[in-house]
Symmetry: C2
Subunit: 773 residues, 2 copies
């Protein structure tokens, strides 16, 4: 087990670093996400994305189509910036603390063991007095409605007059960047402030969205303590004055004389609640605020620590020989954990709760890239993430009907509520493989947990409805092959193609498992009821089986590879090497129709199919395919290299596995793509995890059980991690010579390595074997 | 030669008839288009499209994409309603004439021999006095800037106090219908009125568009005459009062006492000019107004008659045995003539100048469906229409570059100025066959006229640039076939397909002719200069030839047909018969992606290819293809049945030729689709002409000469028409027994019928042959 998971960065005061740090030092707990902006703000010429988000809280906004066609989507949801309670101004002897003007040495800290971020500042006022400032922020895991700031100021060199002006602002707007299509194009105020008042020692605001009619209640409360030179803290006090200073903004003011050596500690409690979760969000908000403000902040910090202890116990990972990678993986897992929902009905957005990129939408990434981490480390969280697709199954049915399907459910390409929010359907809605990602997630979860109860209550219905959709989408062609036409695979550089290899594999696998589990569980009363409710007939099941058996998986004799789709190989090959570096990502420099005419892939497509579905082709085909697609893939998507790495590991191409793993794990922490300031790349974080666990360690979970097949990349000295499988906790440790599997917790079990089956008779047992050199 | 071409309809006062009549009795001259609205207006609860349009005059408006992708089009042009000078209020003894309130018997007349429309009204005033009203409108062909109204009121039963209030309104808006995607969705005022004043006896307004910065000058002048009981007309007089009554609106008032038997005649001259054509549109306008107002109106009418005499001399057509059809064809040809531009730089819009449907955009229809009529009846007009594509060649080059092409020109799918205005590129810009329509038009014009000068000065450059585009779009695949991927054929129910048979045929033909004419004319200095300017190399020409030879024209062995595209036949067949009638057109009831997955065609696609390119398949394949596609074509486009009819004629399927010809010729005049109120279906009118001339009469023009192969549909008693070919005027007369070809005018020549070649030694000669029974 690692001993410490702390990231410390020098605070720099430039636009790029500020934006990046807003992302890196974001506090989130699956419900609240607060970007790591500075309490005192930044000058107006520095663009900052000052946001507080609530998972699943959105507004519906128009998305007019340039040309109206039947049943196209003309509105979408967008994640909201709900409030600003981060703002706290500090004044010393009447001088407003300002990092840009004053002499400061500052650090930013992310403590992932304790679950907080902290700013540590040595500050020298204009009059030469010295202060030590520490501002700690916590998005509380045990109380998801709560975000706290603890603002400490210690007078080091002289007495000083100190004052705080702490704001609660409900009148906020979303961030926009008209130059980047991946962000919302228009800055807009989506919230109407309906209440803004002071109730006792707290400020309360109630805002409401105009269309989605969601109410958001925010309550802020304060306690100011003074600790004397001897470390004795007083009983605390409320604000000297708290009042509405304009519609939508409340100010709480504190003044005191701080003697040299004394420390002022302002604790600010921000509580959020919304009408999606609470009948009376204002009341819920106030009641939680009363509760938490009655408790010592250290008690709350202990509870936070406990949550993180449980998390790391299962998710611990250590990498030797590359400190940056080691820390980056820690950061990635922490971010995944931070963004995973504590409640049902919501999922994990493309940027988690760290930014407004992709408008807070959930994509296939969640199931395909983020979920595997949870399946192996936090099955409860995995279950919650999966629940989103069950809750929105009816909307997926409606979506299918909009697309003209007579039966089945089609999940939306991007969404918050379950309704499609994709504006350009050829590379949105047409990506039917989202259905594959969902059914695949259901099956993976089942294979890792054996949770039959979940399958009966939710999973099976998803499997049946997605299988039906495939049956209705494809058709038996003149040769009796089951073909699926006009869909878009993961590679969006070719859209609306016929027999996308990846999609057909997904469809086959999903349909196969739908029937398998339906038949296996058919005697269970709930399943019988489900079958009746959905009018599942034997004829339908046999049609699905027939489609599975006849599923067309294209194979190209001449090249000995799996072609990405029917016409892919008749197109000219894009010359990636001859393309100037500044032309990537291609999607920002070429008209889509132009891209569609080339053999060029934005990301892993067939290679991902080969990895996920090892029976989809023989090893020779997979090797040749890997070699073929690596030449024509630009990896313009951050979901790509991890897949190439995993598949290279699977194929025993260890150098390639390492090469493709490359910097991907470091993408956000070290801002390798230069755009982490907009928010983290959640799916890439999951992908990096998979590249290690599924790739390097060769973990594979199938109906036959748990398989392990690790190797050590040449650049590393070792790695180890914990994971769960069928209710047991394992640890795999790999170093230069050997691998050790340990059953850390749980009932006797076995696992496989190559053709060998290893048994654990009791907790604590280990199996060691030498690695091939 | 027909003796009279007059349409007379009873005026009915209901919404549908009013709207329809606005279209049917529209006056146009290729520059001005004035819908046949009522001078006195209609009650505000009746929706009317009160429009005056100027060919090519547009505003640029935003067309935001729902999702931003690289190089997508985000603005478009829209045709403008430029003014309202139609409005004239008549009062009798203080009672405002109102057809809805007063007792009236009214007719509407379209005189296509003389080129006017007329309202003929018997009107009984509230006090029981009787009047005869005639309002004649002319859009003058010899003076395209001029539109006149002649408003006659005769007192039949008693003396009366008459007054006219004639308006000139510059402050107008475009029409909108939010329920119909084919019309503009937003009603908007695109014109700013910059001047609105009275100059002597005329009113003048100057308006300007905000973005395209086009100025439109409109001048209105009047003369009021009184004709006494003996038919003697006075010298006329100007308005009693003419003044600006609000910003953008001027009123000219006249009062007089009309004795029983006398007739008051108000002649209103509206003159239009715009800054696209004139350096000083206001001055041009005033100068034209001065000129025309100095002439007797009868002189102008005579000039109009002369223009129509010349037109009908060449375009005369008579059909025996179906009076409705006979009149409808007359109407169709007249409308085509009315909408054809008198100047270069503009083309013929989808609705001509009769309405705002499709926003006044030009599509492939102009070249493919309307142009053949002009090539055979008015080569000057054909040449003007063709010039639009030459004038906009640079914009087509820019469009190609936007799409990522390194060379060549890609014409826009819909446009006014030459810039793409298509919002959904998969069924817009991706319809590369627009390039085929343009090159095809150049070649057809050349084959019919032998106009080498045109080819040298304009046509060849178009042929080379479109050929280059094909070369850059397609590629030689692994089998050495030249394939063209990701384009959309005429059938928009399948988009972005590979090797659309029609498109590949177009490309082959266009490329073949580009090389052929280039080589043939290579010694001409202008061609040598062109070759240098365009950097045409031998290598390039040989690549084009190679592509022509290797062009992949798919053939399906199993069905013996030409498949519409590579994957068409692997899709399930749409059950047209089982589809409820109210679900057509399918595009208004099914998501495009759903349609894409079926074998179902909006319109002729492969069948059109077979017709246009008789060498593209053998007769057996064409027959089988015809039978195959007729089962899966919905004819949701008005461009479809005429093609099926022509091809049936070609194949000798005479019953089918008649069946598909059906009512299409009567579509607008008899409002068969119920939507002619929005404007005429220009392309369908051309299509009906082709179905008779190319179809029934079997006229075909190729390098080998003129071919004629007529038959008489069973339901007709005969037909005859004139047409030109290589500067000669012919007449073909077909009756139940025989066909007669006559050389009406021109040098000795020959034509072919079957394997026979017939010679004409001099003008006036005829050749007769018996028709097969």
């Amino acid at each position: 087990m690692r001993s410490n998971r702390v990231i410390t960065k020098k605070q720099e005061f430039n636009k790029e670093q500020l934006r990046l740090n807003e992302t890196l030092f974001c506090n989130a707990n699956g419900y609240i996400g607060v970007r790591g902006t500075l309490e005192e703000g930044v000058p107006s010429d520095i663009s900052t994305m000052r946001g507080m988000y609530l998972g699943g809280v959105y507004e519906t906004i128009p998305m007019k189509q340039a040309e109206s066609l039947c049943n196209l989507i003309e509105e979408k949801q967008t994640m909201l910036n709900v409030a600003d309670t981060q703002t706290i101004f500090l004044s010393v002897d009447g001088e407003v603390f300002d990092m840009q003007k004053n002499e400061c040495a500052a650090l930013r800290v992310l403590d992932m063991d304790r679950g907080f971020t902290e700013r540590r500042i040595s500050y020298r006022s204009g009059s030469g007095k010295e202060f030590d400032i520490r501002i700690k922020r916590v998005a509380h895991l045990h109380c998801p409605n709560l975000f706290t700031q603890e603002y400490k100021v210690r007078a080091l060199s002289a007495d000083a007059e100190i004052s705080f002006d702490s704001r609660h602002i409900a009148d906020v707007t979303n961030y926009s960047d008209p130059d980047d299509p991946r962000l919302a194009a228009e800055s807009a105020s989506y919230l109407g402030v309906e209440k803004c008042e002071v109730t006792g020692d707290k400020s309360v605001t109630l805002s409401r969205t105009g269309v989605s009619k969601i109410s958001i209640a925010v309550c802020a409360g304060h306690r100011l303590y003074v600790t004397d030179e001897n470390g004795v803290t007083d009983g605390g006090r409320a604000a000297d004055d708290i009042s509405v200073i304009r519609d939508g903004e409340i100010s709480a003011k504190f003044s005191l004389t701080l003697k040299k050596g004394q420390e002022a500690v302002l604790v600010k409690y921000s509580v959020f609640a919304d009408s999606l979760r609470e009948d009376d969000s204002e009341r819920a908000c106030l009641s939680i605020a009363d509760d938490v403000m009655g408790r010592d902040i250290r008690e709350l910090y202990d509870a936070q620590k406990k949550e993180l202890d449980s998390f790391w116990k299962v998710a611990d990972m250590e990498i030797k020989g590359d400190e940056e990678l080691d820390l980056a993986m820690c950061f990635n897992m922490y971010q995944l954990f931070q963004s995973s929902p504590r409640q049902e009905k919501v999922s994990i957005a493309a940027k988690g709760l760290t930014g407004e990129g992709y408008e807070g939408h959930y994509f296939w990434d969640t199931e395909m890239y983020a979920l595997p981490f949870f399946v192996l480390t936090d099955t409860e969280a995995a279950r919650r993430i999966l629940s989103f697709r069950y809750v929105t199954l009816d909307k997926a049915r409606e979506n299918a009907a909009l697309l003209g399907h007579k039966k089945g459910a089609l999940y939306p390409w991007r969404t918050i509520t379950g309704e499609e929010c994709s504006g350009y359907f050829p590379s949105g809605t047409a990506a039917y493989h989202i259905n594959g990602a969902v059914s695949n997630a259901v099956i993976s979860y089942y294979l890792s947990t054996g949770d039959e109860k979940y399958i009966v209550s939710e999973g099976l219905e998803i499997l049946i409805e997605t299988a039906r959709l495939w049956l209705d989408t494809g058709n038996f062609d003149r040769d009796g092959r089951f073909v699926i036409n006009e869909v878009t695979g993961p590679d969006e550089y070719t859209c609306m193609v016929d027999n996308n290899f990846y999609t057909n594999c997904c469809a086959k696998y999903g349909m196969e498992w739908a029937v398998k589990l339906f038949e296996k569980l058919s005697e269970i009363p709930e399943v019988r009821a489900l079958s009746e409710r959905l009018c599942v007939t034997d004829k339908e099941l046999s049609e699905i089986k027939k489609a599975v058996d006849a599923m067309y998986l294209p194979f190209d004799e001449r090249l000995g590879i799996s072609p990405q789709d029917d016409s892919f190989l008749q197109k000219p090959v894009w010359d990636i090497k001859a393309t100037p570096k500044d032309q990537f990502p291609l999607l920002l420099h070429y008209h889509p129709l132009h891209l569609y005419r080339y053999q060029v892939c934005k990301q892993a497509d067939t290679v991902l199919a080969h990895f996920l579905y090892p029976d989809s082709a023989d090893k020779g085909t997979m090797e040749k395919s890997f070699r073929y697609y690596e030449k024509i893939t630009t990896h313009d998507s951050s979901l790509s290299t991890c897949v190439f790495s995993m598949q290279a590991s699977r194929l025993g191409l260890y150098e390639e596995a390492e090469k493709y793993f490359g910097d991907s794990a470091k993408l956000d922490l070290y801002n390798r793509h230069g755009n982490s300031g907009d928010g983290v790349h959640t799916a890439n974080m999951g992908g990096a995890y998979m590249a290690i666990v599924y790739g390097f360690a060769g973990i594979r979970i199938s109906e036959e059980g748990l398989f392990v097949n690790p190797f050590l990349p040449g650049s590393l000295e070792g790695y180890s991690f914990n994971f769960t499988y069928m209710g047991r906790l394992f640890r795999l440790q790999v170093d230069k010579e050997s691998a050790v599997m340990t059953l850390l917790d749980g009932e006797p079990t076995f696992f496989c390595h190559g053709d060998e089956k290893y048994k654990f008779d009791k907790t604590g047992e280990s199996v060691r074997w030498n690695l091939k050199q």
